[in-house]
């Protein structure tokens, strides 16, 4: 009940902006502190017995992969907000998440390639995991193109919500691709039945980096949502100006 009331209160953009302005400086500070501590722990983490120092790429690659998927997850929840609950800020949240999710997916693909070359002997293979992540990146580009080409946010909101729901099918495919098909990519080693397969000396810095990246995602997402609300205000005021001229 309290959660529903909280989201109802946030339906007012002015109230939401006041909340963002209050929260953002603290969230930014916390993000910087956690990321700095994460990098400090990464510097002190031991090399992997098989992969050597290249395991350091994992501290960027894995959190970026999680956030690339989480970004689409945010857009999927927002799609329900647009289509079912007609929440005024749902489309704002989806539009703000798209470029951030795309950026993290891009980081995941590039760092994965740079990790793959010394470990697998190739930058890229068309296996299920890599291909499904590339599909996610292309879906993000499609979503960005949709938002860029639509003049009226009310019209693009519905189309974007449908694309988000269709694209959500790809998320479990990415997650389980390493189990369903034979791939060059290693199977899940952090979130898996029976606990993590990674030694705590590497797992702890990885989880701290994942927390830092998650905080970074939400900091950027709130800031981008604030920009989008202001952009829609500008549009509304320009329409008022045109109507009164």
């Amino acid at each position: 009940m309290a959660v529903i009331e909280f989201f109802n209160n946030l339906a007012n953009p002015t109230r939401f902006l006041a909340l963002v302005n209050r929260v953002l400086p603290w969230l930014t500070a916390l993000t910087v502190i956690v990321l700095a501590y994460g990098l400090y722990r990464v510097a002190g983490a031991p090399d992997d017995y098989q992969q050597g120092a290249t395991v350091k790429i994992m501290f960027l690659h894995v959190p970026a992969a999680w956030l690339g998927m989480m970004g689409w997850g945010v857009m999927t929840v927002a799609a329900f907000g647009t289509l079912v609950w007609r929440h005024p800020l749902a489309d704002v949240a989806a539009k703000a998440a798209a470029p951030i999710g795309a950026a993290f997916t891009f980081i995941c693909l590039v760092t994965g390639s740079l990790w793959g070359r010394p470990m697998w002997g190739t930058y890229w293979v068309w296996d299920a995991r890599l291909t499904s992540v590339l599909v996610l990146f292309l879906l993000y580009l499609g979503m960005l193109a949709l938002y860029l080409t639509a003049e009226d946010p009310n019209r693009s909101a519905r189309a974007a919500a449908i694309l988000a729901l269709v694209g959500a099918v790809n998320i479990p495919i990415i997650k389980f691709s390493v189990d369903w098909w034979n791939t060059l990519h290693q199977p899940a080693s952090v979130l898996r039945m029976g606990g993590s397969a990674i030694d705590p000396s590497i797992l702890v810095p990885l989880l701290i980096m994942a927390l830092g990246f998650t905080l970074l995602f939400f900091t950027l997402h709130l800031a981008a949502m604030r920009n989008e609300i202001l952009r829609r205000r500008v549009r509304s005021m320009r329409m008022m100006q045109a109507a009164s001229a």
Binding site: D47, G52, A53, T54, K56, I57, L60, H61, A64, P99, I100, A103, F106, I107, V110, T111, L114, W115, R117, P118, L216, L220, A223, A224, R226, N227, L230, R231, R233, V234, S236, M237, R238, M240, Q241
Partner: protein, 61 residues
């Protein structure tokens, strides 16, 4: 010093961190710039006396 301690694949590790830093810094800069642009435009419109529909309604009441 760092490059030697990172072993024979140091260039791949360093490149990963550089690419990530460029993308994240670029994203932060783009969002910050967008905020400044939107605020400037809003300020200009408000200075010219243009109001949003909800503001205009509040003024009438």
């Amino acid at each position: 010093m760092i490059a030697t301690s990172l072993g024979p694949h140091a260039s791949f590790i360093v490149a990963s961190y550089i690419v990530t830093a460029i993308v994240v810094i670029g994203l932060v800069a783009w969002i910050q710039r967008d905020y400044a642009v939107q605020r400037r435009i809003l300020g200009d419109l408000e200075q010219r006396g243009i109001k949003r529909r909800s503001q205009a309604r509040e003024d009438k009441v």
